[in-house]
Symmetry: C2
Subunit: 470 residues, 2 copies
């Protein structure tokens, strides 16, 4: 009998009151700390590591959700991704109290300079000992654009053009600017690093010019593990070209399978090896000792579920004020200048016989988020996760909490032991890097088929600095 | 007898090989972790808290030092502020292992958006429980400008104009956008925050437009403690208007006193209360059990001191390639378009009978940095620090390490006990905020004479969001 494929299990959070199970912050244990407290994150990290999770993933956005009713009021009232803290700043604290848990953090390429983003991730790779990953997003919120010096949102496809130039610059900084043996730290000669082994990258793209070498010395992974969640055609191409872990969407296993297939095909056309890309689907799990207890828990959760919160979020990510629409009208694909991928995937992926409406999409009957929930005992949930993985080809799951802290404890208590017994979990070794763990390899570095890898040694012979502009 | 004035004691670091005592990384204990390791920072934080320091201050720059010989080679070779990691990302880890230590971090206003910087500091104020301070700089390195999308450095005075607009926007976000009682977190009604108590700030300045309310809910200090180190006329005015803690420069106590006087006078003319501003001078202390042992330590340190590293740094901050100059020629003030304040203060402050040359300025005879060192036993050093404070009117010191880790231990072992016995140290209470501790008050908030305080309640009645552009 062959060893079953290991499943990736990420816990998905956001530094906010309510991430995706809108309104369910109402059910949080009042003895537990809030997301604004350091202890919330250090205890969560320890809980996840004990529980057997591979990584903690922290999502982000750069604006309030103010599309629904054209006001931030609903988001503020329901605590739906508003207020919101910075996800990067808490990572080192969690790293300090864990030894093997990986981290994925969302950072947008739209309001950041490659030279400084490169330093941020190298710093976090240093501090975590190679446990950091970067979820590349291009920012879709108009409210972010308005507060960050843009007249309006950059058009969707151009955001991906900017992102392509951006990642090209950071790959050069991470992979090509400091040779492996550049840092010598020799107290006798007083040489900290050998300048002949540090190279100015001379990046001059359409959007970014980065003449110099990286500001930081290289970290163990050099490039952080690259995550991406593209579901629009342009986003899918970006993911196929760059992502090592793709977050795939799809409201059925066949839709998931189709998305996995498309991205794999594209990736192959870009010269990437199939085994160098993992696919991860989202799931909200509600579990307990028995199926009946899990169903009872779902019923309790539904009482706290905020449809207003869901409408607030759905309006923000689609860029449409749904308060102006009939919630019983059939949903259809609306072409706009922004990333309307969720709406598109919903209507395109749905079996032809089903007709989606807003009411149906956001109704608590479907669960406590507008992604379908998986509800049942540990065995039931493990069966379902294995089935989805087998039928769709995904390599694992982003599990989000219905109720902060409680849901991950439930997963650790009921689901993960079953998956472990079935040989589905990775063994975590203190000090391991995220990339080596995810791909079950020994090297912490990008595989040779990744576009970043072509910059290794690419700038040899170039001087350490470029004091004048390109 | 009156109680003696308490002295502020900050430890000054940078996430790099060599901050200001160039080349002395060669003497670091090889058993100690490096700055790239998390353990370096958590152990340092614990050491400082045990030792009685008020705060850890982490400096930053956004480029390599590549002015000297017009190349980054000398900086890379000597490890002089190059390579360099991000200072913000390590704060939460240190906060996790300390309870009262304050933090100050340098962040430039030149390459950042106010809306996102506000969220960063609110997040850190949340995670540290009100222990964070912000050192406002405007970035002086041409190499940073080149790598961050600017054709060249923004002119010095315009950088301060931009900074003035920037801080105005963040004060509005921090002080005026969320009322004290906005966040209710009521599980029964499902109201996380009351939208009628959250207000769009509608900031529309010359450089920045920030229409919305802050993305984060308020933290205990709201505005972080504001640090600034302006010594040019424009920088001094900015400090007088905004800083709660001013880093003053001066190569004699009379020069220090004159700078303190000037800034106090300016601050008064801006309507600020004298007791709302603290002045802190820099000092590099080399100490041991006896004066003779401290002198012996200095001699050992001098062997490792890198004049090349000092020249590298001095060239970068003056924007002048000093490899082209005669190091024995008299130094005179050179007017340029950037911040040449150190050179200016050196030549202007020096007694008329003394003639400074580059050789004299950077010679190891003066110490192991081009700031004068204070060398001696704990009693000798404490006497000197008290004398400088009495004569100049400064409220405390930024103490930088000659040798990482070792120097702070020496201070904790020899100097701090003497100062404590003399009643010169603050008592630190777990959970205290940085502002309350520094000003020996109970309120963690900005005092009413600070320009940020005028935005309290200033936007009452305004809606929670501004969905359209101003």
């Amino acid at each position: 009998m062959s060893t079953p494929k290991k499943l990736i299990l990420n816990a998905t959070e956001m530094s906010t009151a309510g991430h995706i199970a809108f309104g369910l912050w109402r059910l949080a244990d009042p003895r537990q700390p809030h997301y604004t407290e350091l202890r919330y994150w250090t205890e969560l990290g320890q809980q996840l590591e004990r529980g057997g999770f591979d990584a903690l993933f922290i999502a982000d956005a750069l604006g309030q959700l103010d599309s629904y009713t054209k006001s931030a009021d609903p988001a503020i009232r329901t605590g739906s991704q508003t207020p919101l803290d910075d996800p990067l700043l808490v990572i080192s604290a969690i790293a300090a109290v864990t030894t093997a848990l990986g981290f994925g953090v969302t950072v947008s390429t739209t309001y950041e300079q490659p030279y400084l983003l490169a330093r941020k991730f190298t710093t976090l790779d240093h501090l975590t000992g190679g446990r950091i990953g970067w979820n590349i997003v291009t920012s879709q919120l108009d409210s972010a654009a308005r507060n960050l010096g843009h007249e309006r949102q950059v058009p969707h496809d151009e955001r991906y053009e900017i992102a392509a130039d951006f990642v090209d610059a950071v790959y050069k900084l991470w992979e090509g600017s400091w040779d492996d043996d550049a840092v010598v730290r020799d107290p006798v000669s007083g040489v900290y690093a050998d300048p002949t082994k540090v190279h100015a990258i001379g990046h001059s793209g359409k959007y970014y010019r980065v003449p110099s070498a990286a500001l930081s010395e290289p970290s163990v992974q050099r490039t952080p593990v690259i995550y991406q969640a593209g579901s629009s055609p342009r986003g899918r191409a970006f993911a196929a070209a760059n992502a090592e872990v793709v977050f795939v969407a799809g409201h059925s296993t066949s839709a998931l399978r189709e998305n996995v297939r498309k991205i794999k095909e594209l990736a192959k056309s870009f010269g990437r090896a199939e085994e160098d890309i993992k696919f991860v689907a989202s799931a909200l799990v509600i579990t307990d000792e028995t199926d009946a207890l899990a169903e009872a828990k779902l019923r309790k959760y539904k009482l706290a579920y905020s449809v207003e919160g869901a409408l607030t979020h759905f309006s923000a990510i689609t860029g449409i004020d749904w308060s102006e629409y009939d919630i019983d009208a059939p949903l259809s694909y609306i072409e706009t200048d922004s990333n309307r991928s969720i709406l598109a995937s919903l209507t395109k992926d749905a079996p032809e016989t089903e007709q989606w409406t807003l009411r149906r999409l956001l109704a608590p009957e479907r669960g406590v988020s507008y992604s379908d929930s998986i509800v049942g005992s540990g065995t039931t949930v493990a069966d379902q996760l294995e089935l989805i993985a087998a039928e769709s080809g995904v390599d694992g799951f982003n599990l989000s909490a219905a109720v902060q802290y409680e849901s991950y404890q439930d997963l650790a208590d009921y689901v993960i032991p079953v998956l472990r017994e079935r040989g589905r979990l990775r063994e975590h070794v203190p000090g391991q890097t995220l990339r080596a763990s995810l791909f079950e390899r020994t090297s912490p570095l990008l595989p040779s088929s990744h576009p970043g890898a072509r910059y290794r040694g690419a700038f040899s012979g170039r001087p350490s600095s470029a004091p004048t502009l390109l």
